[in-house]
Symmetry: C2
Subunit: 534 residues, 2 copies
């Protein structure tokens, strides 16, 4: 293994080459049907990554390869897998890949194999879920659970929620093709806005509802507040014999205050090596997923993510979709100067996937210092936003096509729908219409169209890529998630930043505590708090 060097992007010779290489901005001139076939590589689990409509050519790809090599992206990824403390700000390992499989050396701490620890926790969750399904584990009054509510925020909410929604319809068919609901009705409470908890609680029967309280530290103010909200609702239900905390399981770290309580129905453990936004494949996501869909689905999802992790070990960028995707993004951000990226899944099941990726990307790479804490003079993570197509076509695509600025695009698509129920209308199925729209958009953005009326002209030269595959299943969903997690990781490594801390969330917490504490605060803060009725 080579010794790792951590250099800023602008100190690499490849970056200078990138700046000097004059590919221009005329995407149209590059495009051919052949290129659609050749700029297309395997991601994992049947997913493919097509970058024909990106503003790259073979020479540029060569330079991006040099950049990957110079920044030792794969070697650094291996160091992550091997358990090195790459989270420099907090001096922590980064082990979310390890919940999905053992791709590096065994990672131990205090004599404990951490892979075994994660497996054990997932196994405990799976057994717990099976007992809830069978009725062996019941609510505190003896009634069977029919509802699960996840209480968490940020990484304990967006990822699990996006995954839950993504499989809601895949799961909703039995072998005879009949539509089923998930095994338990499933809800999420996240916001400290009291209307969030009140709304969900108005929809559930406390007696038959299992709550999953997710907070790694056990100190997240929103989550503890919402726990109190839930407990009050359970107590106010005045069900004889019902014990509030026996309707609750915790997902937390072994050292958290929550873990010490024996009042809860059960607790499942994570540790500090899995950041919130990377925790969807840990028991943070695993508990609610196993309860909603059963062990098999979540296991397939983990296998899918592990497939993406494995594919990310390939040093050749032309065979490593997440690394290539990452490097093209760096090129667009730092050389072309585009400050945003849109995520556009042509799949209604992925309705909240862009919100999860927004968190994943912007919280990981929205950094202005490098991993040693030195201020950077180049741009890092872009703003990420998106909504599913075709909905977005009737909304913000106007700006994407005819606005004054260029927004790089990342499409996602599947050959088949999840439910499989479809109709032919006007000569084609809905699924065919969906993908015809996707194909049309890729080409419309790239090639544009001249018109004598400038208001009807499309400049084109809007770059896009597409991740596509046969069908959104638990396995391809895991693969998709792993692709983006690894893309974000590779971008962070290229920028020489720490993608695994989030110091930017601290100041707001501190000031909030001051406001709520009622002591003396900065006069401006006092004035703003007063204005808002606090």
């Amino acid at each position: 293994m080579p010794e790792l060097q951590f250099n800023n992007l602008d100190k690499t010779s490849a970056y200078k080459k990138l700046r000097d290489y004059q590919i221009g901005r005329d995407l149209k001139s590059l495009l051919t049907a052949d290129r659609v076939r050749s700029y297309d590589i395997a991601a994992s689990n049947g997913l493919r990554f097509n970058f024909a409509a990106k503003l790259v050519d073979d020479r540029l790809l060569d330079i991006l390869q040099e950049l990957a090599d110079e920044q030792q992206l794969v070697a650094k990824y291996r160091a992550i897998l091997d358990g090195e403390a790459v989270n420099t700000g907090e001096n922590r390992k980064v082990l979310h890949h390890l919940v999905r499989g053992q791709l590096g050396k065994p990672v131990e701490e205090n004599g404990r194999d951490l892979r075994a620890f994660y497996l054990e926790q997932q196994s405990r969750v799976n057994k717990f879920a099976a007992k809830v399904h069978s009725g062996e584990i019941r609510g505190s009054t003896g009634r069977q659970f029919d509802t699960v509510v996840q209480v968490g925020i940020g990484g304990s909410d967006l990822g699990p929620r996006a995954l839950y929604l993504a499989l809601q319809n895949y799961q909703s068919k039995d072998t005879a093709g009949n539509t089923l609901r998930p095994r338990l009705r499933t809800f999420f409470i996240s916001n400290v806005d009291p209307d969030d908890a009140a709304e969900v609680l108005s929809r559930v029967d406390p007696e038959t509802t299992l709550f999953i309280l997710v907070s790694k530290s056990g100190t997240t103010l929103e989550t503890l507040t919402n726990e109190a909200f839930v407990i009050e609702a359970l107590e106010q239900a005045r069900v004889p014999g019902m014990k509030a905390r026996k309707q609750i399981v915790c997902v937390t770290s072994e050292t958290s205050p929550l873990a010490k309580s024996t009042e809860y129905l059960d607790a499942f453990f994570i540790d500090d090596y899995i950041g919130g936004r990377y925790s969807a494949t840990s028991v943070v996501g695993g508990a609610v997923m196993s309860l909603a869909y059963g062990k098999e689905s979540f296991t397939q999802l983990l296998e899918g993510a592990n497939g993406a992790d494995s594919a990310a070990l390939e040093p050749d960028i032309r065979k490593n979709a997440s690394m290539l995707d990452a490097l093209i993004g760096v090129y667009e951000r730092n050389i072309l100067g585009y400050p945003y990226t849109a995520i556009l899944p042509y799949s209604q099941a992925l309705s909240r996937f862009p919100a999860h990726l927004q968190q994943l990307d912007m919280e990981s790479n929205g950094k202005r210092v490098n991993r040693r804490g030195e201020p950077l003079t180049y741009s890092t993570g872009p703003v990420v936003f998106g909504e599913p197509g075709t909905n977005g076509q009737h909304s913000f695509y106007q700006l994407l096509h005819q606005g004054t600025d260029v927004v790089p695009l990342q499409f996602v698509g599947f050959f088949e729908s999840q439910i499989g129920r479809d109709i032919a209308y006007a000569g084609s199925t809905s699924q065919k219409k969906l993908n015809a729209n996707l194909a049309a958009q890729i080409v419309a953005f790239a090639l544009g169209k001249e018109d004598a009326n400038p208001n009807k002209s499309f400049p084109g030269n809007r770059p896009s890529s597409v991740l596509y595959g046969p069908r959104l299943t638990p396995r391809t969903l895991g693969s998709l998630l792993g692709h983006f997690e690894n893309k974000v990781m590779f971008q962070g490594l290229t920028w020489n930043i720490n993608s695994f801390d989030q110091e930017g969330v601290q100041l707001g917490k501190v000031l909030t505590t001051k406001v709520l504490g009622g002591g003396e605060v900065d006069p401006m803060l006092a004035a703003v708090a007063k204005m808002l009725g606090v």
Copy 2:
């Protein structure tokens, strides 16, 4: 009334003054508690707009006033109210304000008073909804409707959906304070992805479900496809005596193919003078809102929007919140060079309001030619994105605080929650925590915080404004919607663009039709379509 002149932004003398005025970027030095109190103006219906944390001072406000005067913003707005054909691309009037009230001259066409027409349609919708609620109007088998499904896309979906969700909990209390659901279970189908319709249809009983088919032209491919999907589901349900189209009402223009059919249960009409993204307060939103919540709520929402429209007539920018908001945005976009704006409502009820505003803003002002079709050399509409707080704090706020770029912020907050159910935990209610977080964020973004560890340093100087008021009610919701619609309008007028057409959606439609037609297409399009299995 002065003669209207339509000049590009960069031809105005105020724009040159803006460019020359060196306010710098040191927001911190401007901030005082006094400023929090003085840079705070009434919007409408109890909402206020505070811009203390924006990078403006009195001199800059004077120049923005000059810009407003020079671009004749209020006079042009009056021309819109009076029914002039300001939608130059399509040579159409722009009359969404007229559905909310008569603020300009009577607008007639072919001898018909259009205000009377819009009032008549809303009245017909209200009466229809009341008869559905009373059971006088029933499904085709005689069973009472208990569910409503809106089928539409873009403006026929995002706005109505955002408004529906925003009042879901406000409405869900009776006078005794008991929690109620909306009068009908309410769903939306928008995407051509077959899983969207299949998912919703799996949740409803066709026999007791009323479908609202919304397409102004009556030719929207997604919506007609989903109508066919719905009709097949109704027919496959094989309920004796059930007539599919007698479970459907249309919202469409009088000239559309849908309007000509006598097979539907009923039809309500709009016209070409209300653009999709501005149609939430027309019967496009009014039908589902009246069915879900009754006439009174929607009437109050219209009154709220009319209040915002009325307030937007004020020529003094210091007394016109939507115009001031617009001009600060133009300053941030064209002088400070920020390419995006985040919308951050501290209200879970507004969970989809940012998605609607994203459409409203990006589809209206994502234009690269002026109203005469001449290419522009300055930036127009920004990328707009957002999620509710406090959720966003645990997600993308990291980048907003510590990223390499500055994202201007637009907060929204309310003193009281909607449901009113709340708890005290750790010494404060959830609502107080929510607003303490909002206050803390405004100050944290503006002032930042130095730290010896650069990784824990916050540069501050992140500008924000906040729209705030007592409570999210139908009236304040209407006011909020009107504020943003008028903000977008004023920005478009300042940029001298047509905010009311959307030619950018056409090319994708044309290419989709070509792909689906199966004839010869551009080789690249053929290759992409083949790749995606079309």
